[in-house]
Symmetry: C2
Subunit: 144 residues, 2 copies
DNA sequence: CGAGTAATGTTATAAAGTAAACGCTGAAAA
DNA sequence: TTTTCAGCGTTTACTTTATAACATTACTCG
């Protein structure tokens, strides 16, 4: 899906939910669509400063926080960085990422088997999952 | 498994592998066995300073790095913290954690279905996994 | 022993993330 | 229309997490 489609889809979502897709949020959203891999908050901040020299860490983190809550962006815990989600229309899907350590590309997969396996194991021990993190590091097809 | 058993097992492992289980590493290991949940590096550092007032961040991070490489300790990426592994005799097992956000307890599970589901999904896209992170947050049996 | 490697000590700093106080703004109610 | 107020943004300062660089010490093996 291309950048414009994503953007209009995001605007649509926000309108439906009564969430405000403000300028700051849109700018960060757009910056994120330019990357196919993980981007650090401070890298993003540097990019944002080119447009808005007054931007500060809080600017980025607030925007990322919002975009994350809306499901537009995922945080990659193992890299302390962020990645655009290309499936945010499917609400609240579990996040499963394949991260290439060579080229940096991040592929989001959707395996219900994986989700099921985790849930059933949790159930078996009486654990209730509220949020799951699945991140696989390695080499993508073109890099291996 | 109790603290002494873990400790002797760790010493054993190191001897076999020709790795040096030095004093600093043993001290950090022991501190970790006292916790049933995640511990931050700097919390651990504060504890270590009671024994060794000269300890510095590098002291802890080096010890953690070693213990992690030996498989004695896992890093919890989503909490930037660390947890003792109770199954390190089973070498190189994939790490799958259930993290209770209420009481802080961390349970390590072993689901080969989960591992399989992830690997097969990766295979399908030509991705080779070198390291995987699976962390589920939520509420444990006693807290829910 | 002595050479080479592994570990530690020490200092400084980078990178990532948060807090708190305050100001602005624009849409809804009076 | 004007008031009001919640949400958003700005700013400053700070905390937490992690690493780099380089000197020194300790261990191991020939």
């Amino acid at each position: 899906m291309n950048a414009e489609e994503l953007l209009s889809q995001a605007k649509e979502s926000c309108k439906k939910r009564g969430a405000r897709f403000t300028l700051a949020r849109e700018q960060v959203f757009k910056l994120l669509t330019r990357h196919s891999g993980a981007v650090g908050a401070y890298d993003l901040l540097d990019e944002l400063k080119l447009i808005d020299p007054a931007a500060k860490p809080a600017t980025i983190y607030r925007a990322l926080d919002f975009l994350n809550k809306q499901g537009f962006v995922h945080k990659i815990e193992s890299l302390n960085s962020f990645v655009m989600c290309h499936h945010f229309s499917e609400c609240n899907h579990p996040v499963q990422l394949l991260i290439c350590d060579t080229c940096g590309h991040v592929e989001e997969i959707q395996s219900s088997n994986l989700d099921l396996a985790l849930r059933s194991m949790a159930d078996a021990t009486g654990f209730t999952i509220s949020h799951q993190i699945v991140e696989a590091h390695g080499a993508c097809q073109t890099c291996s």
